[in-house]
């Protein structure tokens, strides 16, 4: 607990909870088993607020707030689920599916993909938005891992884990807008990277089939993200 943080009470979905002012709405919700969908968020990494899945309504404001970066405050009244929020979240998932080439049936992450499972959880049966079918590349130059831009949702978990946990900062984003994509070093091929330590953390935190282990077939790429909470515990870090 940071010295300046205070303990407050707030209301989430008509129930009262206590929280510290250095905690986010998402943290409090998770502590109390309230489900708020997330994609770019990963416990143990810094909040990013970019996928907008975790948007919640706050009484007294017409704006929507990302639960992953919004800190608790006294007497906040938060709504985590409403027809409007549900619709927006569904559209976000649809946008991600339409943005690149997510073809589950031939994906190594089929069945272990957070985008896929989130779509199922939110009851998405079809995509209304026109698919964009961009021509994307993949990078198989690394001995152990593969990068497939077709499956990337630009959540930047790989960028953050590499920078914040491994301390290598191999990953970053190049381009902007719809042309944003993850790059290695100064746009090198992965196999030629001088900074990559081959630790594989990026592959483990990637929510989709964008970063995978080589040699995995369809639906074989299981991810293991538990190491983050272990690392955090061992290092005594509070997020």
């Amino acid at each position: 607990m940071t010295p300046t943080a205070q303990v407050v009470t707030l209301t989430i979905d008509s129930k009262q909870y206590s929280a510290r002012t250095d905690e986010t709405i998402l943290e409090i919700a998770r502590q109390n088993n309230i489900f708020i969908p997330t994609l770019c968020f990963l416990e143990g990494l810094s909040g990013w607020g970019a996928c907008r899945m975790c948007i919640v309504e706050m009484k007294g404001s017409t704006k929507l707030f990302p639960a992953c970066t919004t800190r608790a405050a006294q007497d906040q009244v938060i709504t985590t689920d409403s027809p409007r929020l549900r619709q927006y979240r569904q559209t976000i998932i649809e946008m991600l599916f339409s943005e690149r080439n997510h073809i589950c049936s031939v994906c190594v992450s089929n069945g272990h993909c957070e985008l896929q499972s989130m779509a199922q959880k939110l009851g998405i049966t079809h995509i209304d938005l026109p698919y964009r079918f961009p021509k994307m590349e993949f990078d198989s130059s690394h001995d152990l891992f593969r990068l497939d831009h077709n499956r990337c949702i630009v959540c930047t978990r790989c960028v953050r884990v590499c920078d914040e946990i491994e301390g290598a900062h191999t990953w970053d984003i190049s381009g902007r807008g719809i042309n944003s994509r993850v790059i290695i070093d100064l746009n090198e091929s992965w196999g030629n990277s001088e900074t990559c330590t081959t630790c594989g953390k990026c592959v483990r935190v990637c929510p989709t089939g964008a970063l995978t282990r080589k040699g995995t077939g369809v639906a074989e790429m299981e991810k293991d993200q538990d190491f983050l909470s272990y690392l955090r515990m061992m290092r005594g870090v509070k997020s």
Binding site: I55, L64, T70, R71, T91, V154, N179
Partner: protein, 546 residues
Amino acid sequence: MTAAELENVAEIENAAQASYRHQIRVCAAAACLSQGSDKVKDNFDKEVERRGLNRDCQVKCVGCMGLCAEGPLVAIDGLEKMYQNVTANDVSEIVSSLETKPVERLVCSTDAPFFKRQTRVASEYCGLIDPERIEEYIAAGGYQPLQKALTEMDPQEVIDEMTKSGLRGRGGAGFPTGLKWGTVAKARSGDGRKFVICNGDEGDPGAFMDRSVLESDPHRVLEGMAIAAYATGASLGYLYVRAEYPLAVKRLKIAIRQAEKMGVLGSGILSTPFDFKVDIRLGAGAFVCGEETALIASIEGRRGQPRPRPPYPAEEGLWGCPTLINNVETFANVVPIIRNGGAWYAGIGTEKSKGTKVFALAGAVKNTGLIEVPMGTTLREIIFDIGGGIPGGKKFKAVQTGGPSGGCIPEQFLDMPVDYESLGKVGSIMGSGGMIIMDETSSMVDVARFFMEFCQSESCGKCVPCRVGTAQMLDLLQRFIDHTATGRDLALLEELCDMVRNTSLCGLGMTAPNPVMSTLRYFRHEYLEHLQPDRDAAPAAAEVTA
């Protein structure tokens, strides 16, 4: 420098200027320069030299006089007698006429509404003083408000005066400036550092207010920043200017150097214990860096991407320290407020929108250029009286305010007063002050597509709704242009507008649908006309060609 020395500088400069019988002011802001005003200035110098009038005639470069459409502009003795469209060849004739009648064919009528209907506050010295000489700024009364603030007012009094003035952020959102200053002043900084940032990353297509102020009167912005720093407890400021404004950057650099030399910037300002330094940071051409958190990231040397607020920069800004960010024009209004008092400023404008606003008139209007009018002036006055109406006898169709974040306002609202609330009510925004006027030949679907293309290419790509949503909306708008859109596409477009507006991370995404939504609201029939022709009718058309 002490107060007495400051006065001394002003006196010497005023005496020097009074010794000339005539002053010839040549506009040296970007628009007139592009029309060759530098050659005009050179010729004036040569002509005055040739005739041996060096002691009688002062020729100087000044900032923007506003009527960019008729540049290069030259003013003789004050701003009452003005010549327009001056070329290098006209110079000799003008110099000959100094003691006699003006050169008829070049006279720019300063009695015209374009000049008479304006109220110049932020741009009061624009066109009058040489932006590259601090002495002229001081002679015109510059740096006295700073001296007044430092010696006669405590920081809270400065903030109170700003609050009293009712000034609201001129960057577009209209947040009360006094409140923002007060928040930064109250905010506690972990290591005691606070910062003042001037946002000069003007990126709206067709907007050039900030550029003009920076090019014409850079000291005013520096002085405004210094007063803000004193009020909020900051000692370092950053001027974030886009690299596309080389002239503004050059003049700011000169201004900062001169101000430091004069002791009105730097350490121990005006012989008080107050220190304030200003550094320039150049934007690398990303529109999103006009968003305050992206701008801060850019100054910190990181990728120019916004982050969710709160925390607001006033609490956690540059390097985690409390940071005041105001727009160029906001800072330009500080000096007159401190000089004349907040109550004076609050006397101009409307109940909720005080003071004046600088607008850049562009598009289908006779007098393209820069104007400053009191808040609450109607669109009709701005476009038809000051702007001179639509050229070529065409009919007015719409005015786009607020750039890519704003909306298109149709004819029925021409008599609406221009203030933050009214513009918001009709689906547009004040924005930074760009006004693009469109005549009957403009297609509103084209306009919407243009701005969506802008937003799409300027989206930073961080959040999903803006990254994918703008691209999807652009594709949909293209279908309308190609006449291949269906009713389903129209529904989808409207759905995406609502979703992107409500879920995007920063202002760019939140306002990106505005041009589409406002044109859908007022010119829906144009979208309907762009729908795919009825499928049943298609074979008939084919038969005709066969």
